[in-house]
């Protein structure tokens, strides 16, 4: 067994708003091995982004990690001192976002910003060295004429180029883990295809692990080794990408895959998931998906489901997989 790179245990993150406590992440646990790509899928409000922001220590007031631990390479992230923390974010873990302008400073040249990231990693290195490595990085992310691009400002870059520049900055610290938060959501399909290919390519070359946060099942199917499906701040299902897509067990995952129009032809009705997205201020006592679930049991309404695992490590938080659900004569709908 490979030693895990990232281990999250019972993480709970809440936002304390005037309207009440918003439990954005409500007790999630997972591990990630080095060099793997983990896809986290969920819709808005599922907690997929917040859970990853907490790894980077990006939860600001009124948000707070109220419970749980994050361990990276065997070290507890919350127990790190200032210098360890500085080294950790950037050099061990880096993050890319949907909007590249959250990372790029409009008043500095791209070369300037790359140099800063490189110095953060390697300390005092010569100007020539910085330039050489910057050009290497820009070439790696597929930016043409990097020598010229170094002296340009972010606004002179197009959308796809900015995304590439941001990836280059993330790679400057040679991180072991890259967290990508909806990295292609704002991009057009043809540019999305370019960036996804680029990420795959870099992953192969550097062997870093990637946590890929997205709402697009197609991207997950394409990129991920393992998949976590989140709903209402909890993990409802996790497993390998094959078992999630071909053998999904949770009614939410099943519903999502079934509702995609891609597999259906014109004229056939889509099979949607009923109901409305959850209200995080008003989370149900039991399973968050219960009101929308077609196979909802009485127990689901007031009791948080336990996790049920199969031998291949596929875990599902759903009462349908309790022995008693079978004994009571409920026929499971595997449709």
């Amino acid at each position: 067994m490979v030693k895990e790179l990232l281990k999250i245990n019972d993480l709970k993150v809440s936002f304390f708003t005037p309207a009440g406590e918003v439990k954005a992440v409500n007790g999630i646990s997972y591990t990630l091995e080095p060099g793997k790509v983990l896809g986290i899928v969920g819709e808005s409000g599922s907690g997929k982004s917040v859970s990853s922001y907490s790894i980077m220590g990006l939860i600001d007031k009124p948000g707070k990690i109220v419970w749980g631990s994050i361990t990276f390479n065997g070290k507890d992230v919350s127990a790190m001192n200032r210098s360890e923390r500085l080294n950790f974010s950037g050099n061990e873990v880096a993050m890319i976002f949907q909007d590249p302008m959250t990372c790029l400073n409009p008043v500095f040249t791209v070369g300037n910003q790359l140099a800063e990231s490189l110095r953060h990693k390697y300390g005092k290195i010569s100007k020539e060295e910085v330039r050489k490595r910057s050009i290497e990085l820009l070439t790696l992310v597929g930016i043409n004429v990097p020598e010229k691009r170094l002296s340009q400002y972010p606004h002179e870059f197009s959308g796809g180029m900015r995304q590439r520049a941001m990836i280059a900055m993330a790679l400057a610290g040679a991180p072991k883990l890259l967290i990508a938060d909806e990295p292609t959501t704002a991009l057009d399909v043809t540019i999305q295809a370019q960036i996804l290919e680029l990420l795959k390519d870099i992953q192969k070359k550097t062997g870093m692990a990637i946590v890929l946060i997205t709402h697009d099942l197609g991207i997950v199917a394409d990129m991920a080794d393992d998949v976590i499906v989140m709903y209402g701040g909890r993990i409802v299902e996790q497993g390998s990408v094959y078992s999630i897509f071909h053998n999904s067990r949770h009614p939410y995952t099943k519903g999502l895959i079934r509702s995609l129009p891609d597999l259906k032809k014109r004229g056939e009705k889509l099979i949607p998931i009923k109901g409305n997205p959850i209200d995080l201020l008003n989370l149900p006592k039991g399973c968050a998906f219960a009101p929308r679930c077609e196979s909802c049991l009485k127990v689901c309404i007031n009791h948080m489901p336990a996790e049920y695992a199969t031998e291949d490590g596929h875990r599902t938080a759903c009462w349908l997989y309790d022995e008693r659900a079978n004994n009571s004569g409920e026929v499971k709908n595997n449709g």
Partner: protein
């Protein structure tokens, strides 16, 4: 597993399919919270603003019923009671002619507040119309209209008041002495009427600018486009969609205009351009007190303090209102 311990105690019958009504119990829409209700909740949470509101209401109450409760009239000269310090009969003392200062200060506050409120209403009407038209039309009309605003902005107030008083004195006097002029206008006098003119002519520009800026941003909104696609007229778009969506800012600006107008009125009255005797305003009271400032400082302190309290509390309340009505504007 963490939850395993307590799941064992669940009864078997719970593992039956739930009915629709059982599922529905979980999904309840939160009670409706309207815009005003939400704004009121935010305002209530702001202790400074609520304190200011209480002070404003107290001053208003005193200004409205204070003079009625007082045994003296504001222009009643009590022979032998000149220049009295504050005492039981005259809690603010009396002035050099023997008039009760408490009554006069309250009457002055009444005039000042009335000037502020009326001016704010006039400013709002002119400013909203001008700003909405300018912002909605855009293009050249907007450029021309905004340059006019810039010009009005640069005109010195005092100069205009003096000019207006000279120019308006005759026509207003003529109008006031004619039989069909309303009685309340007569009480105001040329000075106060020209102050209203000045406020209406010069102080609407801020309102116009803010409304115009809002309209410019709002008219690009998709719901305005949706109304256009439905075939709504420009008038309907302005009155049903654009103005209601900047009403919060309009209220805030109007509220902050009240103390500004009060200040202008007091200042102009103080330099002798405001209300005519025997009518009192807080500014003219302060001015009258100047002559005896070393012997009778209380004559200045009471009206001056009243001006300060009114303006300060109005400003504090206006700021609170801004935070409550338009949380995005909060810095």
């Amino acid at each position: 597993m963490r939850e395993m311990d307590n799941t064992a105690v669940l009864e078997n019958k719970l593992f039956m399919p739930a009915t629709e009504s059982e599922k529905a119990t979980v999904e309840i829409m939160r009670p409706s919270v309207g815009y005003w209700k939400d704004a009121w909740r935010r305002l209530r949470a702001n202790k400074v603003a609520i304190g200011a509101l209480v002070v404003i209401l107290l001053v208003l109450l005193a200004a409205v019923i204070g003079p009625m409760l007082s045994p003296y009239k504001y222009d009643q000269i009590i022979k032998g009671s000149e220049n009295l310090s504050p005492n039981v009969q005259h809690i603010f003392g009396t002035d050099s002619l023997g008039r009760d200062l408490f009554t006069r200060t309250m009457i002055g506050a009444r005039i000042s507040i009335a000037v502020g409120v009326v001016a704010a209403i006039m400013i709002s009407i002119i400013g909203i119309l001008y700003g909405a038209v300018s912002g909605f039309l855009g293009g050249w009309a907007d450029i021309v209209m905004m340059r006019i605003v810039d010009i009005v902005y640069s005109v010195p107030t005092v100069l205009i008041v003096i000019l207006l008083q000279v120019v308006l004195k005759d026509p207003i006097d003529k109008y006031l002495s004619s039989a069909n002029s309303p009685a309340f206008l007569k009480g105001l006098g040329v000075g106060l009427i020209s102050i209203f003119f000045v406020l209406a002519l010069l102080y609407w520009v801020d309102m116009a600018r803010i409304v115009r800026g809002q309209i410019l941003a709002l008219k690009e909104q998709e719901y305005v486009l949706a109304a256009k696609v439905l075939g709504a007229s420009s008038r309907d778009i302005i009155s049903k969609h654009l103005i209601p969506n900047c009403i919060g800012q309009i209220i805030v600006v109007a509220t902050l205009k009240i103390p500004e107008a009060i200040f202008v009125e007091s200042f102009l009255s103080f330099i002798g351009l405001g209300v005519s005797i025997p009518m009192a305003s807080l500014g003219s009271l302060s001015q009258a007190a100047l002559k005896g400032i070393y012997s009778y400082p209380y004559m200045l302190i009471f009206p001056a303090a009243t001006i300060s309290v009114i303006i300060l509390s109005m400003n504090l309340f206006g700021d609170g209102l801004r935070d409550a009505l338009d949380p995005r504007m909060k810095k």
